[in-house]
Symmetry: C2
Subunit: 202 residues, 2 copies
Amino acid sequence: MIRILLAEDQAVIRGALTALLGLEPDLEVVAAVESGAAAVASAAVELPDVAVLDIDMPGELDGLEAAARIGARVPSCRTLMLTGHGKPAHLKRALAARVGGFMLKTAPPEELAEAIRDVAAGKRVLDPSLAVTAWDLADNPLTPREADVLRLVADGLDAPDIAARLHLTAGTVRNYLTAIVTKLNARNRTDAVRLATEAGWI
Amino acid sequence: MIRILLAEDQAVIRGALTALLGLEPDLEVVAAVESGAAAVASAAVELPDVAVLDIDMPGELDGLEAAARIGARVPSCRTLMLTGHGKPAHLKRALAARVGGFMLKTAPPEELAEAIRDVAAGKRVLDPSLAVTAWDLADNPLTPREADVLRLVADGLDAPDIAARLHLTAGTVRNYLTAIVTKLNARNRTDAVRLATEAGWI
């Protein structure tokens, strides 16, 4: 029996998913909570096999932050993200949080049950409709340092501020920025921020 | 009408694909060749909209090399890779060659036709069954420099050789190697080469 913790803020969806998963003979929803913080607390008590977490939950912890904390505190519990959309930035954060899977709410119920079984077995699962998004993510042309610099541009810092923050000279930062704009085939820094954000690279 | 160049070394598959695509009212196979070199030559003459290229073809140019050359010489021609398996290394090379799409031969015929239409329209297409492979590829923890170093280890070079090749000190190379082994959670350098090769990161 695979023991499931479900976190979803919308009560109707939470109820529907609980009922749906309960129809599977090998799946059991041992807890159904409404926030990321409740999921972290519940995981520590229930020690579920798989935590199925909605990404967009209100409160201090969204689903991805909850996944990262559950991974750190309850290593035996694997995590499956469930979301309404596959934004590249979410997929990137899910990678960084080392989640076991990432499924869209548009997936057929039997695919969700199968994804839970795969994640419980230690496999990695990604919604097939996100194949191209994942491919684009893999196409990141920026070095980690260039991504750091561009992230600070996105935060509104100018070259001297970025230089101070990263302990570089302003000239070095400007060289990075020129390289970034060229690599991304962008019109300017602002355009580079837009392109890299859309692609999930920063 | 979408004009297609097909390159596939196995005559039976080449014939079957030509017949199959010919059934679609908006697709026309204008050339069907048996090698990468023939595909490059034919693309320059026929100026097709889409080149559908098998990856594993004998001869000097495999499908991915042919795709890169067609992309450089006939910019109006988009490329769709067709292969029997989705090795991470192939997917990575396909990204680097900036191909328009990557489909498995196991895909249903109607999905292949749809993929050709999407690629012709400038979209990117990836076989849904390769979603997890693409995700793993996006998870590359190595910096470009670390990947360079590890690729040379895979080529059989030791630290002093790598240092000479990359104009570094042997100590710096050894620091890179320690970082790589740690990042990949590998047992040793050989294990790191195996892990990174399987994941398509080098």
